[in-house]
């Protein structure tokens, strides 16, 4: 559903998926790679809080499918429930590549699907797999070529 939208990054890890899963879901681990302080139980629908320095934000867990998929929403207005359209969705996908190797992919997507009819969403996904980062890069380079130096 989020193919090619916004941010998509991945890394290959020399460890089984179960080990990677613990790294991304256990609070004492999360605080090492993500937020400075983590108040979160990784269960579907759980509300938590992430503290980054003197800033913080709420987070709501969506999908928990060990050891394959984890998703949560954040960056939504205080006092509202996060849904498609008012929040950013972060999705982790773990793909085993042999017994001791895992490909970990993360996507962060946001408002692009706000209030769109299904047809439009599909068209967007089909026509714009390159994502916003690439789109903006391309625009910026067109612009740089055009600008007199």
């Amino acid at each position: 559903m989020t193919s090619g939208l916004v941010i998509e990054r991945e890394v290959v890890i020399e460890a089984p998926a179960e080990v990677v899963w613990r790294t991304i879901t256990e609070p004492d681990q999360i605080s090492q790679w993500f937020a400075d302080r983590v108040d979160l139980v990784v269960e579907p629908g759980a509300h938590g809080y992430l503290q980054f320095g003197d800033q913080g934000g709420s987070v709501v867990v969506e999908t928990v499918d060990p050891p394959r998929r984890l998703s949560f929403r954040w960056n939504y207005p205080a006092g509202e429930d996060p849904v498609t359209g008012n929040s950013m969705l972060v999705e982790f996908t773990l793909t085993p590549e042999g017994a001791e190797r895992t490909r970990l992919r993360v996507t962060e997507s946001g408002h692009e699907l706000r209030d769109w009819p299904g047809r439009e969403k599909q068209r967007y996904a089909d026509e714009h797999r390159e994502g916003w980062a690439e789109y903006l890069d391309r625009l910026a380079s067109v612009l740089a070529d055009r600008r007199p130096r």
């Binding site: 941010i7 890890i13 020399e14 460890a15 990677v20 946001g110 910026a140 055009r146």
Partner: protein
């Protein structure tokens, strides 16, 4: 973390039709709404609406040229957007690198050394 201003920007470029309009403004510069309407498969009214959204997001600005109004891209806003995206991606690269280090260390700690391997 995104800001409300970013939200406006992301939703402005999320619409494929709007991106088409923005593409044309970027590659041609100083174009009028009717010039744009001749080059896209949707109505003049739709072009006008897209221009309003793009202008509100700070991606294009307009000025008068003789009797017509022409639009140009706001380069600094576009540059800022590109940088914001690159920064978000870099943050995730950094997080993934840390996850990799943690998971590989955890795995190594639980894996008994294989004799002769």
């Amino acid at each position: 973390m995104t800001t409300p201003a970013d939200d406006e920007l992301w939703s402005a470029i999320a619409d494929p039709s709007r991106r088409r309009v923005l593409d044309l403004v970027v590659s041609n510069g100083d174009v009028s709404a009717s010039w744009l309407a001749d080059r896209v498969p949707f109505s003049r009214q739709a072009v006008a609406k897209h221009l309003v959204v793009l202008e509100r997001a700070g991606l294009v600005s307009r000025r008068k040229r003789g009797r017509e109004v022409v639009y140009q891209v706001q380069a600094d806003r576009l540059d800022r957007a590109t940088r914001a995206m690159a920064e978000l991606a870099a943050q995730w690269d950094q997080r993934l690198a840390t996850i990799k280090r943690l998971a590989e260390a955890a795995h190594a700690a639980t894996t008994p050394a294989v004799p002769g391997g």
